[in-house]
């Protein structure tokens, strides 16, 4: 079903939704940009539709809303452990088609990999409703079309701003509220069919020859192992567990998990000072291979969804899109 909303009607919809849900969307975060006086688009809870930034790509990805940067797992004291409680409200997140594809990638590792689903991930994921924001045109650095991730059918509702009104295709009405607040109209979501750049994705990479490729040395000499590329990535999922104890009683404390990055020192460090992939070029190779080979080998789809956020975030102007394209073209060249 399609619906049309004036801004006022959409805000009434949001108000009704917010009784049972927290609603997250890309918004302008003042003063959070690279330089102190600049802004940055990132995720925050919203109460009105005018807060949603439609005309830019968000710098941070939506994953932080349902897979927090820092997540409490449990508390402990002398008597044992108690599980961290979770907010009763559901979650509604506004995000792009590629971002929804990235949620499906996170589901693969967090729900399917290993013997069982990740308890804490599943707990929030089950509460999650997805609202896809139409892409009316491609942003700079996007290469979703090359990755085949420019579309999705996995959403509760879509939304786009067109001539001052909000148009929504609803697949799963949340509590019947879209129908209640909207005016029925034909709507189909819009997805981009081409990007400003296209990359040649290699499909038959052989690890030994990739590892011998001199490009990693070049990337290694530029990469400063800051990990920004993995922080902004919607499909990166690694974490490290940490314990903290409370100052007033060292027997009480909590265990948390925090996002980790394969690009940063310490990711593979073991006792005795042994670590793997010390060189930043090797780490870049590891990341790229995960994004466009290893993950697919395991789960059948590429991990990278072509959102281009890593390219925007890298202080050294390293472009993953360019790297993938190089590998793809070299592969095609070698074969041809």
């Amino acid at each position: 079903m399609g619906y049309r909303f004036t801004a006022a009607a959409f805000n009434q919809l949001l108000e009704s939704l917010r009784e049972k849900y927290r609603v997250y969307a890309p918004t302008l975060l003042k003063g959070k940009g690279k330089f102190s006086d600049t802004d940055l688009v990132g995720y925050a809870e919203i109460s009105k539709i005018e807060d949603v930034v439609f005309n830019q790509k968000s710098y941070f990805s939506p994953k932080e809303t349902f897979y927090p940067v820092t997540q409490r797992l449990f508390y402990f004291n002398e008597n044992g452990f108690s599980e961290a409680v979770v907010d009763e409200k559901g979650m509604i997140v506004f995000l792009r088609a590629c971002d929804i594809q990235a949620v499906e990638r996170l589901d693969k590792i967090m729900l399917e990999n290993g013997l069982s689903a990740d308890y804490y991930y599943e707990r929030l994921r089950n509460k999650l409703k997805l609202i896809v924001m139409d892409c009316q045109e491609s942003f700079d650095s996007c290469f979703c079309v090359s990755m085949g991730t420019n579309k999705t059918e996995n959403y509760s509702a879509s939304v786009r701003l067109e001539n001052g009104v909000y148009l929504s295709d609803v697949q799963e009405d949340i509590e019947g509220l879209f129908a209640f607040h909207g005016e029925t109209i034909e709507v189909s979501p819009k997805f981009v069919e081409s990007n400003k750049q296209s990359v040649k994705v290699p499909e038959n990479l052989v690890l030994e020859s990739v590892a011998a490729n001199p490009i990693w040395e070049e990337y290694g000499s530029r990469c400063i192992a800051c990990g920004r590329c993995t922080v902004v990535c919607p499909s990166c999922s690694c974490y490290t567990m940490q314990d903290i104890f409370y100052d007033d009683n060292p027997k009480c404390g909590e265990r948390r998990r925090v996002w980790a990055s394969c690009q940063i020192d310490g990711f593979t460090d073991m006792a005795g000072g042994h670590s793997f992939r010390r060189n930043n070029g090797e780490r870049m190779r590891f990341k790229v291979m995960h994004k466009i080979k290893d993950f697919k080998q395991r789960f059948g789809v590429h991990m990278c969804v072509g959102c281009g956020r890593c390219d925007n975030a890298c202080p050294e102007y390293i472009s993953l899109a360019h790297c993938i394209d190089r590998l793809g073209k070299e592969e095609a060249g070698n074969r041809g």
């Binding site: 797992l73 452990f81 599980e83 308890y119 314990d243 060292p250 998990r257 005795g272 670590s275 290893d294």
Partner: protein, 273 residues
């Protein structure tokens, strides 16, 4: 809803035995039935968690041999019998014991690498009729680093046991090493050319130790004509979850905590860090 695999259970320390200055074996009250070669995630709430191999197990207990190297292992070192550790597991793939039945098993263990294979050795020590023969080659840094001295002595009653140390300590004394074992100085790789191999196709090899030791030891066995498929190794990697989620242990498309830590060498050899 799935079960919360992150919350550990409590296990009482029943006994604690000193192995070396840094290594102690802990016997913990615990009902799990692990497979030799599997590991546990061991917690000290407020400090953290780390993966530790099960070095032995029996009715109502497991043993772990832990080296004091940092935060968590340093905290564990201070505990005494009657105190508690917190565990989750067992995790990972262990050794495929049945593929060693009626074979000539050769175990090469370097340093703390002896811990994850100790229960393999004990399994066959209790059932020697299951093997054609068994050679146990162990290498340590100095005589003071030798682990499981009593066990080495015991095993040497039934199997051929060799102990080598990289170098002697100040005392220049090899006597501290178990009595009935053959003793030498030098690297473990030097022991391999002398192992008697009556029938090559019956040989199965387990190699566990630091990465460099495993690499060169495997090379020596390949030189003696062994097929890669007949060699097993056990990997150590940084691990945070043990559940296939955190990503720390990943090499290529392989998760060491799930598909390892025990690997057949034919697979292990293709993994590239």
């Amino acid at each position: 809803m799935v079960k919360n695999s992150y919350i550990p259970f409590k296990a009482k320390i029943l006994a604690k035995y000193q192995q070396t200055e840094l290594d102690w074996t802990y016997r913990l009250e615990c009902q799990i039935q692990p497979i030799a070669g599997q590991f546990m995630e061991v917690s000290l709430p407020g400090v953290g968690e780390c993966p530790i191999s099960i070095s032995d197990f029996g009715d109502g207990y497991i043993e772990m041999t832990i080296r004091r190297v940092g935060q968590v292992t340093g905290g564990i070192d201070k505990l005494v019998p009657g105190d508690y550790l917190f565990l989750r597991g067992p995790y990972g793939k262990g050794f495929p014991l049945e593929s060693f039945y009626n074979k000539h098993l050769i175990i090469a263990a370097g340093g703390t690498g002896l811990a994850p294979v100790k229960s393999v050795i004990n399994y066959f020590y209790a059932r020697p009729e299951l093997l054609q023969r068994c050679d146990i080659l162990t290498g340590f840094k100095t005589p003071n680093d030798v682990l499981f001295k009593h066990d080495l002595d015991k095993w040497a009653q039934t199997f051929r046991v060799e102990v080598t140390v990289d170098k002697l300590d100040e005392s220049g004394n090899l006597e501290v090493i178990a009595n009935s074992c053959s003793r030498r100085t030098g690297l473990i790789t030097a022991l391999i050319p002398d192992v008697e191999i009556p029938s090559l196709e019956d040989v199965r090899v387990i190699i566990v130790g630091p990465p460099v030791m495993m690499k060169f030891t495997a090379q020596e066995f390949l030189c003696r004509g062994l097929a890669k498929e007949n060699i097993w190794v056990s990997f150590e990697r940084k691990m945070s979850c043990g559940l296939g989620k955190c990503g720390h242990c990943k090499i290529d498309e392989t998760y060491v905590c799930l598909e390892g830590p025990v690997f057949n060498f034919a697979q292990a050899q293709t993994l590239l860090d």
